[in-house]
């Protein structure tokens, strides 16, 4: 139900994006700009998610001094990678550590970014929702972290750059007892935690 509804928004939005954008790119406005009836309606509320994956893996660096990836503050590095399309979190189903297609896509994008920035080492935290014992969830969290690590590794990210730790249900991002919250806690969280000392 939800998905069908989404299609009505996303498909026109994609069409706008794919066909509308390039046409609009020329600085001179297209001749039919005034013909209101032919413009594809804009999506009502949120912009289509498709636009989020469009920035290139490594935008050209204009001035090296300004590159946030050179910052010694890893928070700045993490923010910048995120801006370039790095997904800090991938999510899992209840009592599961298998990767969904969506998760694989996100990890694939992360792998590209990590490979293009080999100077960074990444910590992958495994987390679980609040249901079940702490000890079982610790094991589950570890499986989630390892599943993410193994997939990144299969895509060419050196295993030596990645370390995993499970927090089980001990470090929730959301503490309400509802699925909307539980689903946010069932995650592998990836953060840059170090920089190799190579020049």
């Amino acid at each position: 139900m939800n998905r069908k509804w989404m299609a009505w928004i996303v498909v026109p939005a994609l069409l706008t994006f794919m066909y509308g954008c390039p046409k609009k790119k020329p600085k001179t406005p297209p001749p039919d700009l005034n013909v209101e009836t032919t413009t594809v309606p804009a999506p009502p509320a949120t912009p289509p998610p498709a636009t989020e994956v469009t920035p290139p893996a490594t935008p050209p660096v204009a001035d090296k001094k300004e590159d946030p990836l050179l910052s010694s503050d890893l928070q700045v590095v993490n923010d910048e990678l995120r801006r370039r399309g790095f997904s800090p979190d991938v999510y899992f189903d209840y009592d599961e550590s298998t990767l969904t297609d969506d998760t694989r896509q996100k990890l694939s994008r992360n792998a590209d970014l990590l490979k293009s920035q080999p100077q960074f080492s990444v910590t992958i935290e495994g987390h679980a929702d609040s249901r079940g014992t702490s000890e079982y969830n610790l094991a589950l969290g570890e499986r989630r972290a390892n599943a993410a690590r193994d997939y990144l590794s299969s895509l060419g990210v050196a295993a030596t750059r990645m370390r995993t730790i499970s927090y089980g249900k001990e470090r929730p991002v959301c503490t309400e007892e509802a699925e909307s919250c539980w689903s946010q806690n069932r995650r592998a969280h990836m953060i840059i935690t170090g920089r190799a000392n190579v020049g």
Binding site: D95, S130, R131, G132, T133, S134, E135, Y136, L138, A139, L140, E142, R143, N146, T164, I165, S166, Y167, E170, R171, E177
Partner: protein
């Protein structure tokens, strides 16, 4: 494996005794000294007692204690009396007639003359207490009389500072249970648990009735899975304070903490062998968690399970021959049993899709665990002889992490039914559920196997 600095843990171990010394200072130090009272020698009175299986309660008259104490003594005496009454009530063995009921009996105050009046409302036993002050110390005489003969079944005198009135009460209450029931009481037992009331999740210990909570760890990290040693002198636990969760041992008398096993990606859910010489725990190496045992120095590591599934939460049986644990090898977590050497692994929980966190009854005949039923977590117990299973809790609120009282008649567990996670207790049939904690979030109760040394 990465080399790990040992400096931080060592520093922490040096610092933590301080916290314990401070915590210990609040505890009463001099033990109340039980002494046979000269006034009335307890005769060899035999009472008719209900058998273990019977539910009939002994009717006990509990008039107000006699004696007046001024100043601080008043509060101490009141606490003493209330604690004895609550202990006997909590034990579940007695039906108590307090001063409110007894006031209708027109008692003369001379117990021998009042026997008939006591018996008229069905009392089988009369408990009399008298408090007085001797050189700023509380003196408590407790007596238990057979209502039929008027003879003393128990007479004890305790003396100590006012600050130990609760422990005097617990000590006497356990004597009453031992005398009238013939089994050890639980009023001097303690419960280890985790709490975030001071900020980070730390290991705490409280008296069995929720009183006197004291913080055991101060790692300012996440510390969890406390497990009492059989002698009650130490607590094994898991902490994240130096990175990947490691297994540590806290000595309660000295406050010292030391690592047991800290290598690998995590070590958690310790459980002592009944002889106190080994610990079973869940240990993950390279992403697969298995059940291991080790000695208290972390040596002689033995792996007991070998499955690609999650194997965790071991619980050593009270007689030592078996270890219960959780495994997801059948697709979902379930309770399994194995010999203490790892052989003969077999599944014992079959209901539902989530059974985890086994705890043994002291007799080794029952296993309590967390069971997901209709999407909600409940406490279930399975009789190992028949594999018959009973669910003791109901409704929402995530009831989990059960642990048996040392007499096997109660279960402490975690429930979120009132909003936050608290430690609750209930009788073995699921009745009389009530909370023991109220501050912060409290979880992972482990009941001591007897009375920990004071």
């Amino acid at each position: 494996m990465r080399p790990r600095s040992t400096a931080l843990p060592i520093l922490l171990f040096v610092l933590f005794p301080l916290a314990l010394v401070l915590a210990g200072a609040q505890q009463p130090t001099p033990a109340p000294t039980p002494a046979a009272t000269p006034s009335q020698q307890p005769g060899q009175v035999t009472l008719v007692l209900p058998g273990n299986g019977q539910q009939r309660k002994i009717k006990i008259a509990f008039p107000a204690f006699r004696g007046q104490l001024g100043g601080d003594g008043t509060a101490a005496a009141r606490e003493l009396e209330e604690t004895v009454r609550r202990d006997l009530d909590t034990s579940g063995y007695f039906e108590i007639q307090g001063p409110d009921v007894l006031s209708g009996l027109h008692l003369t105050g001379d117990v021998q003359k009042d026997l008939a009046a006591y018996k008229s409302t069905g009392n089988e036993v009369i408990l009399l207490g008298e408090v007085k002050n001797e050189q700023d110390r509380l003196v408590f005489d407790g007596r238990v009389l057979d209502a039929a003969s008027g003879q003393a079944a128990l007479a004890k005198r305790y003396r100590g500072p006012y600050s130990v009135s609760r422990r005097m009460a617990h000590t006497f209450a356990d004597e009453v249970v031992r005398t009238l029931i013939g089994r050890p009481g639980i009023a001097l037992s303690a419960i280890a648990f985790t709490s975030d009331r001071s900020g980070a999740k730390e290991v705490w210990v409280m008296d069995y009735d929720g009183a006197n909570p004291r913080k055991i760890t101060g790692h300012h990290s996440t510390s969890m899975s406390p497990a009492w040693s059989p002698d009650g002198a130490s607590i094994a636990y898991t902490s994240f304070f130096s990175g990947p969760p490691g297994l540590y041992l806290a000595d309660l008398a000295s406050g010292r903490k030391r690592p047991v096993v800290t290598s690998g990606s995590f070590n958690t859910s310790p459980s002592f062998s009944p002889d106190g010489k080994r610990i079973a725990f869940a240990r993950s190496l390279e992403g697969n968690v298995e059940i291991f045992t080790a000695d208290l120095e972390g040596g002689n590591l033995r792996r007991l399970t070998n499955s690609p599934a999650i194997d965790t939460n071991p619980a050593w049986s009270p007689k030592g021959g078996n270890i219960a644990f959780t495994s997801s090898r059948a697709g979902n977590p379930h309770i399994y049993l194995m010999d203490a050497e790892g052989a003969n692994q077999r599944r014992i929980s079959f209901d539902g899709t989530y059974n985890d966190g086994a705890a043994w009854s002291p007799e080794g005949d029952l296993i309590a665990y967390t069971s997901r039923r209709d999407g909600q977590f409940q406490i279930a117990i399975t009789n190992l002889a028949t594999l018959e299973t009973q669910v003791l809790t109901s409704g929402p609120g995530e009831n989990e992490s059960p642990t048996f009282s040392p007499d096997g008649r109660k279960i402490a567990f975690t429930s979120r039914r009132n909003g936050r996670k608290q430690i609750w207790i209930m009788a073995l049939d699921g009745s009389n559920q009530r909370p023991l904690t109220s501050e912060g979030n409290n979880d992972m109760a482990d009941w001591s196997r007897g009375a920990p040394p004071q």
